[in-house]
């Protein structure tokens, strides 16, 4: 099977967020970047497990981004991907990213394209659905379980209040949520091997954006916490009822 895993680079969750240019740009100065956890822990690892189980096939990782992203891509190779592709462009929107990967994937006929459930910076969960439409392929989002038997996959997908169990034939796209796999930490051998694995840089195709961020704001800070005496839970109940009006 030919498997493609879309990986993105996001600021580490613990990063302090700030903006420049009159609050129109995210300030990347001093920000620690990581591979998006859903892409790394769940999508990539599940793809590797499938290949290992089948005993054949390839796992390629793909990223749309500038040359700085190579460190994140090499980490994916160290975890076990066979090769990598970087589409050399600044990812300006989910539409832009989807278009780049879709154009590349069209020519390669992958059996399964894996994505993460969402990126933890813009929290769009959009790329997969845009790309699926461009590729005219089924897309199963928020998958927590995937088994493949021949050309048919059985997938569990999270929905509000439950789980859907569904079946789909390859080729398809899938976005991975918690439950799909367990995080793998790259070992020394993997890190050494990653240095020699191919990382192909390809130019971007034209794409126009219909959406742009015009302003960022930090949410207004919480007012101070009101402390309630642990011996006086009646007071808390009264505050929740009369002041917060939530019960």
């Amino acid at each position: 099977m030919k498997l493609l895993v879309c990986v993105s680079k996001t600021p580490d969750t613990t990063t302090k967020i700030s903006f420049t240019e009159n609050d129109t740009n995210f300030n990347t100065q001093g920000v620690q970047f990581i591979m998006n956890p859903y892409d790394e822990w769940y999508a990539l690892v599940r793809a590797l497990e499938l290949k290992e189980k089948l005993g054949s096939g390839t796992v390629t990782i793909i990223n749309v981004g500038p040359a700085d992203n190579d460190t994140v891509i090499r980490k994916g190779l160290a975890i076990g991907a066979d090769d990598a592709v970087r589409i050399d462009a600044n990812p300006t929107s989910s539409h832009f990213v989807a278009k780049q990967i879709a154009e590349y994937a069209k020519a390669q006929s992958y059996d399964i394209v894996f994505l993460g459930k969402e990126t933890i910076d813009y929290n769009g969960a959009e790329v997969g659905s845009v790309m699926a439409e461009m590729l005219d392929a089924p897309f199963i989002s928020f998958a927590t379980h995937l088994e493949v038997n021949g050309n048919t996959a059985t997938i569990n997908r999270e929905v509000e209040g439950g789980t859907e169990v569904l079946e789909v034939d390859t080729p398809f796209l899938i976005s991975a949520a918690k439950g799909m796999a367990e995080q793998r930490i790259p070992n020394m051998r993997g890190i050494m091997m990653a240095k020699r694995k191919p990382l192909n840089v390809v130019p971007a195709v034209d794409s126009s954006d219909l959406v742009s961020v015009t302003k960022y704001e930090l949410p207004s800070g919480k007012t101070d916490c009101k402390y309630v005496d642990p011996e006086n839970m009646e007071e808390l109940v009264s505050l929740l009822h009369n002041e917060a009006k939530v019960i």
């Binding site: 613990t14 439409e133 089924p138 509000e160 859907e164 916490c225 642990p230 808390l236 917060a244």
Partner: protein, 319 residues
């Protein structure tokens, strides 16, 4: 010109998020100066009720290929309806269905999209809406330059508002493609409000020490008719099911009330709950970072505080 709302349904009924989406659609339609219509795909015996929340027409299509959700089929049909009625804005809920539709609709309609919007459109400078980014650590204003737009609306942000009366659902002429995704089974967790839709959430962390101690947490939740949640380690250790794990890598929620018990308040946990309207923190460590995000704090031992809180709520309920 019109606004089209995709109303999510499950098990023969509209979902709560459908009423939120149509309320948003109605308000957006008054800003744009047009009508709002709704589309329901598959069974929902309460589809006409969308009229009460502002939909002047409700289209409903029943077909074997629509009875289960396949984002490809649904997007195809919704796009046809949007074209027919000349929709310049398509609205859906930012739920497990809506999230997989927006991108597809964007491609079909050549529309700009904003997923997870938390404001009504502003027309001051073209079309813009805001949404939370960086896991709730910032708010971004998105400008959409295309003539058509697709917006998914964050849950529990626009409470349903009744403004009119029910309408009779009608059919509309579209071609329905064959499903490619075959839904075999839907396993539902019975009895409780699903976490993403819950207005009241009682959540506990490693402070409960042992899964055998969950009883006091459950009793508080049951007393409030709240849904239970937990921190990541609690789910990872198998004390609670994975779907209850909230935070960065779990579910993101925004209930009216979030009671955090024995949870330290790590940033990855806060990322999934910091949009809650009111946060109560119960922790024995006065330095626990969660207190910085709390509206009400109780410094104390949860084994002592939680039963007292449950008792106080019962007393309040019976008075």
């Amino acid at each position: 010109m019109a606004v089209l709302v995709y109303a999510s349904n499950a098990e023969g009924k509209l979902k709560k998020s459908a009423f939120e989406a149509v309320t948003y659609g109605k308000k957006a339609a008054s800003i744009l100066g047009c009508d709002v219509h709704a589309i329901v795909l598959g069974a929902a015996d309460d589809a006409g009720k969308l009229g009460e929340f502002g939909a002047s027409k409700v289209f409903q299509l029943n077909d074997a290929n629509l009875s289960n959700f396949d984002s490809q089929t649904h997007a195809n049909v919704v796009a046809q309806v949007a074209d027919k009625i000349g929709a310049t804005l398509v609205v859906c809920a930012h739920d497990s269905f809506g999230k997989s539709l927006v991108g597809r609709l964007a491609v079909r309609l050549n529309a700009g999209t904003v997923s997870g919007a938390n404001s009504l459109p502003s027309m001051d400078n073209g079309f813009s809406v805001t949404k939370n980014v960086f896991s709730g650590k910032a708010v971004a204003t998105y400008h959409v330059s295309s003539e058509k737009r697709v917006v998914s609306v964050m849950g529990n942000t626009f409470p349903p508002e009744a403004v009119g009366s029910a309408v009779q659902p009608e059919s509309i002429d579209v071609t329905i493609p064959a499903n490619r995704v075959r839904v075999k089974e839907v396993k539902t967790v019975k009895g409780t409000v699903p976490l993403p839709e819950a207005e009241l959430v009682v959540s506990a962390g490693r402070g409960v020490k042992d899964p055998g101690n969950w009883g006091i947490i459950q009793e508080l939740a049951d007393t409030l008719a709240a849904t239970t949640a937990c921190s990541r380690p609690v789910a990872d250790m198998g004390w609670r099911p994975h779907h209850e794990h909230v935070g960065q890598t779990g579910v993101a929620i925004r209930p009216n009330l979030y009671i955090a018990i024995g949870i330290s308040g790590a940033i990855q946990h806060l990322a999934g709950v910091n949009q809650s309207k009111t946060i109560v923190v119960i922790n024995k460590d006065p330095e626990a970072p969660f207190f910085k995000a709390a509206d009400y704090g109780i410094v104390g031992d949860l084994f002592d505080v939680v039963p007292k809180l449950t008792a106080a709520i019962k007393k309040h309920q019976s008075s």
